[in-house]
Symmetry: C2
């Protein structure tokens, strides 16, 4: 999506260790006009699929999901990162490993908010190794619901996440796909 790629080139900062800082429009300060355009694009790609719920994960996914949901006229559910030990009961639980932080934590969603009739679009800001997204897919499948697809703002295409998601049979739509990036030369996008 050219609007997004142009913004990444203009305002994204490539740091050491494969870090792309987009905190001035995506995940600390949020340019709601831009994100609303991304939401419209997710709608263009996924409309007609009978989506009745958008699932994301706190914190950075929430704004994107909330600015996408009005186009679909559906509620948002956000999974929570749990600090406490969860006993089986009123929540679905999945484990997510963060390679960035070197930690594993539970993500949870209340059983009240996912059920077998749901057709779910999963939204998140980044896809790299795919662990958070795989965790969200697990939550939907634990509920017996259907993952219609995953809408990602920025995919780091050289990492394994995109491949892992497609191997699970999940339709993946990433609005910007980065082929490579470098502190000196910046970002190169995948040519479609």
């Amino acid at each position: 999506m050219k609007l997004l790629e142009d913004r990444i080139v203009k305002d994204g900062i490539v740091g050491a260790g494969n870090v792309l800082k987009v905190d001035c429009f995506l995940n600390h300060q949020i340019d709601v006009a831009l994100i609303s355009e991304l939401g419209k694009e997710f709608y263009r790609r996924f409309q007609g699929e009978g989506i009745n719920k958008i699932l994301t994960i706190e914190a950075s996914g929430i704004g994107i999901a909330c600015l996408t949901a009005p186009y679909f006229n559906v509620p948002v559910v956000f999974a929570k990162k749990s600090k406490t030990k969860n006993i089986a009961g009123d929540v679905y639980v999945s484990k997510v490993t963060s390679f960035t932080h070197g930690t594993t934590h539970d993500i949870i969603v209340s059983k009240k908010f996912l059920n077998k009739n749901d057709r779910v679009l999963i939204i998140d800001d980044f896809l790299a190794r795919g662990q958070a997204l795989l965790g969200l897919i697990d939550l939907v499948e634990a509920a017996g619901a259907t993952v219609v697809g995953a809408g990602i703002v920025i995919e780091k295409s050289w990492q394994e996440g995109a491949k892992l998601i497609r191997e699970r049979g999940i339709r993946l739509e990433s609005l910007a796909r980065i082929a490579s990036m470098d502190v000196d030369t910046g970002v190169t996008f995948v040519k479609d």
Copy 2:
């Protein structure tokens, strides 16, 4: 605001220990159509005040802020709850005590996203003891920016937060003000 009060009566669940669960429309599942109406109401109350930025705190505030910001046509900045020790530098830091969780943690915002010319509307889901909101006010004032006001979805009016905020000279607009609540009899609102 009657629309919100009616929804709290219909779907809110009063639990032991002054807990009001509104996770089916506000802070786990998000009814974006309802929250967008709340955003419109914040705009009605604060328009004409030259607001150029909305500040909130992760995670529950983000959706509300993002559905309010389009009316003002301004960006959202969300403060982060920091798990790491912050050395003075590129972020403003404030301490917030959570009585619910019995913890104190730092909240931070990048200095890039608050500056002295900003006229800031602070948005959050709940106001009870007021510690999170006071922390957000501290961040704005540390930047030399102006707090135009605070927009809260649900105020627990019998707790000290609302009084503390008004004593700081901050304009406070809460869309639902709960006078008292009880597991058996439910919620009573403040009569205006």
